[in-house]
Symmetry: D2
Subunit: 341 residues, 4 copies
């Protein structure tokens, strides 16, 4: 059997672990041939690939990033490319394609699958926003990195009587904010799912100081927003250069809280460090299992589906379901976290 | 409501996170009173306890160990003590007892529950051997510590052309060995569930060297055993001092592999470092959720049961079920790990 | 003997280790009494202090921050307070004061020392900018945190073909940038000591991409500046809210490099995480030694001086010297780092 | 210029950083050619080498081990090989040899240097036992790994009322034991330099428990020994299999302390994990500087010497001096550590 693998979309710790697992399972146990397309779908559309044998994946298990490179491809661009993709698959004699990626990648995977290509997807997102799987690799690493940073920030906030607003990843969902906030014992968490009331938030933080505490840590998902009208908010979050990426809920929130509380408030933006570097043991195990089961699915001819974690089992779910809904943080999970919302 | 908490059995990262969560949820959200019994069941039997308010649990979330102390109590000893325990519960006006512990502790919890005491259990084991929950806190930390050690050992083994046999925790189950071995890319994993064939193991390791590799890492759960008759094995594993704890599968295996392969082989015993220190973010979140749900169960009067993780949900399961069977590593999980067995 | 300790200035990993060491050496080995002034000089001026016995410093060795709290006091404010300070020292019967702090603190220490108070200083700076000592505690931790972040960022930059500009601490000196850049293998380092030439920097980064590399990492000390006239630069670095702290060399540099190279460039600002949290083993040892020697100096009546590291020895140097010059990064150190400058 | 590099002796974090630095400085800045001999001196004697260009050292900075491999060669073996070595150097047209290694390697380096070969040594030891340099790379990493383990062990020892005897590396010197013990706040440290008195040690540990403490941590360098006659001690430390490596001061000490104190005592042997894996930022910087200066020395024709750290400077010292004396822990350093001795 000849298998093509590719990684697409944003970086995510564990991508290399999946690639390695696919190659090990396919080559060692099935005697398959594996090739890797460079830079995601682009590699398939341009027939740009490399042979993946055991040596090619030696030593990559714990390495961040992806040896195949990645890229973001516009769906419409891909739509025009379906025929080209089908052609290359025919030429290369590929029996199965294993795309590893997030929502966008899985949508593209479904598109190609519907056009008849033999696709087995592997979901990937540090945001934990894919509904049909309990979790995917990358999320645990992101939470771990954010938590270690919060652990460090607590001591420094305490000795200097500050409010720190720590911005973590999560444009549409607050999972990283919720879990890192719970893990580090933050005093408030704000997330995209439910716009926060700045008065409530100010009150909650203020109470800590009245109670004699010397600091407070607020974790803010980058997509968090205030309730309309409760505070002036730079919606588009564009900076003077017109760059979206500098909007910054943490910056705006720190200014607002400083003004309202009369306490020094500082923003900390963790940024890309959350999606780079060595995956945690948890993510390496999950990624390895996903890769293994993707190969098995390919050999069963179980196409048009993707790997998912349910409890402790790896199951296959239709790509169609995978991209239907975003997994947002439910109300009861906030309650557990004793958060302001 | 008045709640008594205790921690019993071996150390496990996350115990303090549960205690803190119980206190926060009970005191802040329910206005309950919480006391902590010292050194496990001993504290209940001897009525030795301290008041747990918010200050008492401040700053313990990320700290290893348990602020309540722990101890191992012999079941028969506890059986004799049931009446005493009931008496103290009455005197202290306790409405719910939340014991946090492993198999032994949960057996004791069931005993007391059957005698009519209001018990809500919280399972704890770094070994991941409790069947009714997907996982418990402590396991992820143990696997993480073992994996970091394996990551370090790989480079040194490689540059010095060695076989390293790394002994990790797991007297009865191989979960830590399996997960850390998968996460670190070990070349063989031996576990208690299935005695290994030393000839197969030697062959597998030997093949690596024939293939030009310069090293091999074997992960051995402390309870791993060879198939009877395949190699001389110090069953009881007693040393010249008659101490059981120095038996050591890693030591015996390194001697045997060195003899058979004519390659330098060295044992590394990770030991207690796997069950101490700061819990991972994953374990802190799980422990915090367990504590929260234990308090809710107490308020519902949902006694005789314990918290468990199923998928992403925390559910309550009867204590009776909890201790019936040991969760061992199933065959298909080994297949995924490409292990010798 | 009665000793007063205080911590002043910005946070720095190792402060608690010094406090603990002072108390251990003084109380255990000399039978001294130790008190700690709260929030730096403020505590001395307002006679706000706590007794420091062995229990008070138990478990703080590895904890970041300072149990005594800190504050920044304006020199002129202190000048007016000299008499008050002398009065409190008399009342409390203090035989020696051990202030732990950076440049500002040591200047204040010298002021009080000149006024006749028995002062033994302990230098502290994560910036490594105190000339009379090889290094102080805090610096190694800051470099370690920055290096771990850079390690993570390299993999993600590589898989996504990006330039990352990583802003590390250092308003006046580039030590953290230089060491973390060397340790992580950054491709360029810009520092306050020598304004960079944006054309050279662009060329150096550009060459990497022409040579087929897929990414580049530039480490920028927060105080780094371009050569006048080589690029538009927001000197004061004020943002639309007029806050200095959001100026950001990394942001401006990323915009400029993106424009010039036509490659995606992103800023990452590490911020406070560099000065918080558990100190490295190196910093704990150095901080412990400083505390020990400060107590010895007090017992020798060796006042008006501060502890310093010279090679492997702890020596005492006059406070006068300590604050004379800033230790900047010399040219030959850049050469070693193969940096653009 | 043509430079030959080799790594010899035990593993040490930072070896790859030196190799990389030598190649970068030599190739990029001097246009030199660099080759690497495989497996230490063996590679020179057998003319087994590979070309080292920038690609060959890409990505190795933070990796443990050595890409050149290492081996221990018997001096007499080398003595016989001097002529062979000289011949290969001539054939290969090598202008400078840079051996990176510990005491044995430097002795060999001196031997070859005296025979007229152009040698520039780079010292390496995790034990910190080379007298002519303040420190070498590898030591900081070993201390860091040991300290992290001790941090973890403290919490578990505390919650279970135990004495833990933690064996760290150091056959002839106690530097790792001293620094990790100081950094982690151990309660006693025993080292090879001064045989310990078991009665004093027992008393010191016993006092902790009498004072109400619930645990004690003793750090023991593997070469630590009791004063003759104070306790039964398995000198050769051979186990029932006649293997020296299982002697174990920690094991014997735990048995003795358990017997004397009637408290549970457990040995923990950290082992090879201390010399493997990613080097700390400190060691990466020092290793990089050593490599850089070794190349400069070669270009100056400054042979027969080795790099050394003095304060913050890298200096060159004669190989002759380098191996004369072992750097042991002086008495005043113990005093600082408040150790039993």
């Amino acid at each position: 059997m000849r298998i093509g693998v590719l990684t697409s979309g944003g970086d995510c710790p564990g991508l290399n672990a999946v690639i390695r697992s696919v190659v090990h399972r396919a080559v060692v146990d099935h005697g398959d041939e594996v090739i890797g397309f460079r830079d995601g779908w682009k590699g398939l559309l341009e027939c740009d690939y490399l042979k993946l044998d055991l040596d090619a994946v030696s030593g990559i298990l714990a390495r961040g990033g992806t040896i195949l490179g990645s890229s973001r491809v516009r769906p419409e661009h891909l739509r025009d490319g379906v025929e080209r993709a089908r052609g290359h698959v025919r030429e290369l004699g590929i029996d199965a394609i294993i795309p590893i990626g997030g929502e966008g990648t899985l949508k593209a995977a479904r598109l190609l699958s519907d056009s008849g290509l033999p696709i087995v997807g592997v979901p990937k997102t540090i945001d934990n926003d894919i509904a049909v799987t309990d979790v995917t690799f990358g999320f645990d690493t992101a939470v771990t990195v954010a938590t270690e940073a919060l652990d460090r920030l607590k001591t420094t906030a305490e000795s200097h009587q500050r409010v720190l607003i720590v911005e973590v990843m999560g444009r549409h969902t607050g999972w990283i904010a919720l879990h890192s906030g719970m893990a580090a014992g933050a005093h408030a968490v704000v997330v995209p799912e439910r716009p926060f009331d700045i008065d409530e938030l100010t009150a909650k933080v203020g109470e800590r100081f009245e109670a004699g505490k010397r600091f407070a840590i607020v974790v803010a998902a980058e997509g968090a927003k205030p309730k309309p009208g409760t505070m002036e908010f730079d919606e588009g979050g564009k900076d003077i250069y017109g760059h979206e990426r500098f909007a910054g809920i943490a910056r705006q929130l720190s200014l607002e809280l400083e003004r309202r509380l009369g306490k020094e408030a500082r923003p900390v933006i963790l940024g890309h460090v959350q999606r780079g570097g060595t995956p945690t043991a948890y993510d390496r195990v999950l990624a390895t299992r996903f890769g293994w089961h993707a190969v098995e699915a390919a050999h069963r001819g179980d196409f048009g589906r993707m790997t998912a974690l349910r409890g402790t089992d790896i199951v296959m779910v239709p790509l169609a379901e995978a991209v239907e809904t975003l997994k947002t943080v439910p109300a009861e999970r906030y309650a557990e976290a004793e958060c302001v919302l």
